[in-house]
Amino acid sequence: MDLLTPGIGLIFWSTLIFIFLLIVLRKYAWKPILNAVKSREERIKGALESAEEVREEMARLKTDNELIIKEAKEERNQLLQEGREIKEKIIDVAKGQANDEAKKIIEAARVKIESEKEYAISEVRKQVAILSVEIAEKILKQKLADKRDQKQLIENYLKEIKLN
């Protein structure tokens, strides 16, 4: 059948046309198109990858920041704690010192008071002695005005001495 018999002319021309198309299109169409598409795809891929990298970097920075903030907070707390402790210690020490000082002062005052007291007592004794001597003198003067009394007293003394 004619329909199924390939004609030589058509075979020749279609081969020629197709080869021509293949060669020309390869050079002037497919190469630039495919290259452009490929480089575009690569660029998009690269952009996506770098975006992903940046995202990761951001996440890393964020965690870093959080870590730094956490550390700073801890350090602050620690510093505050230390300050508090130091304060208490200082207060304690000051208290102790004040106590000691007070005790010393009190002690010194007590000693002074004691010595003053003794001094005063001895002073009072002296005065009393003087006064009693004076009183005794006056009494004796009064009492020994009479000769008999003098005699009696001497006798009393002598008795006492004998007894001793």
Binding site: P6, G9, L10, I17, V24, W30, K31
Partner: protein, 348 residues
């Protein structure tokens, strides 16, 4: 292009019923004289021709565009002239275009010794003309597209790029990459893209029923044979060691089976491009035959009232043919890529 004028007439009939009725009456008369032969009408259309027939007027006058005839015979050498010289059975330089009989549609040469001689016919026939037109269209479209890509570089696709680029990516990603693989597909991309777009655009041009379109290029067995041969040659040339090993000595098959296996493998080798050739040819020819048959119904029934149904069916078929056009281009390209992929695959 008989169906063109017929469709025009039908169109007129629908718009101007009275006038159209008259026109179709006269058309009927012209055809009735010869008795409308649907078979002849259809096969005249799908076959190749030395001239581009546009219309037959009611007074049996043909409007045709003559095409160059290029003949080579041993006796008279190279002869180039226009096909109009051979119109209506005229003889020119001893050449005659046979209208019927054994050499229907072929040019024969009369010699002094009264013997019929068939010269080698390299004429720019309707199909060759249509192929050249397709080639020009493709070259214009894709070279300008290539220049756009060269100029704009890697910026986003604009205009026609947005339409063509997905197709190119489709051929690359869903045909070449899938069947041939990442390592080797690039070498075959030009062939796959060229065959895809050549077949597709040829198919589409074949559906358009006006001059200078409408030739049945991809429904011609010579054209599909050439396309299949390209796939075959590329497959064999790029085939790897494993491919030949499978044909000559299939691994795991006892050596005494070789006398059976080798012929089988060779049959398989040839049947692949053969299937490619027949599939494209048959699909496109069948589509043309269906459309023409539905058109012929109007003239077989000799009734204007068949026309609306025919038109509706033809419209439906045209839409299906548009789908078939791209589908067959896809199938051809996919199978070509598959065969190439099988040939270049290396087993590890």
């Amino acid at each position: 292009m008989k169906n063109f004028i017929q469709r025009i007439i039908i169109g007129i009939c629908l718009v101007f019923p009275l006038k159209g009725l008259n026109a179709s009456e006269s058309e009927h008369k012209a055809i009735e004289d010869k008795e409308f032969n649907a078979n002849e009408f259809i096969f005249d259309h799908i076959a190749d021709s030395h001239e581009f027939h546009i219309a037959t007027l009611p007074n049996d006058h043909h409007i045709t565009v003559p095409l160059p005839v290029i003949l080579y015979s041993k006796k008279s050498g190279l002869n180039i002239f226009l096909s109009s010289k051979l119109a209506h059975g005229h003889e020119y330089k001893g050449f005659e275009l046979k209208d019927d009989g054994e050499y229907k549609g072929k040019i024969i040469e009369h010699t002094e010794d009264e013997e019929l001689y068939v010269p080698l016919d390299f004429s720019i026939t309707k199909n060759v003309f249509s192929m050249l037109l397709t080639a020009v269209l493709i070259l214009w479209l894709f070279i300008s597209l290539g220049n756009t890509y060269r100029k704009t570089g890697i910026s986003e696709p604009r205009g026609i790029q947005g339409f063509i680029e997905p197709l190119i990516l489709f051929v690359r990603d869903d045909i070449a990459l899938m069947t041939i693989g990442k390592e080797k597909y690039e070498k075959f991309m030009p062939y796959l893209l060229t065959s895809f777009f050549f077949i597709w655009i040829s198919n589409m041009i074949g559906i358009i029923p006006f001059f200078p379109f409408g030739a049945n290029v991809t429904g011609n067995i010579a054209v599909t044979m050439v396309l299949a041969m390209f796939t075959f040659v590329i497959t064999q040339v790029s085939a790897g060691k494993d491919y030949w090993k499978h044909i000559v000595a299939m691994p795991g098959v006892p050596f005494w089976l070789a006398p059976i296996m080798i012929p089988l493998e060779i049959i398989g080798l040839i049947s692949k491009p053969f299937a490619l050739m027949i599939r494209l040819f048959a699909n496109i020819t069948a589509g043309h035959i269906i459309i023409l048959s539905i058109i012929s119904l109007i003239f077989i029934f000799k009734s204007i009232f068949v026309a609306p149904a025919s038109i509706a069916f033809v419209l439906f078929m045209d839409v299906i043919e548009m789908l078939v056009a791209v589908l067959q281009a896809y199938v051809f390209t996919l199978l070509s890529a598959l065969f190439i992929g099988l040939a270049v695959k290396e087993e590890h």
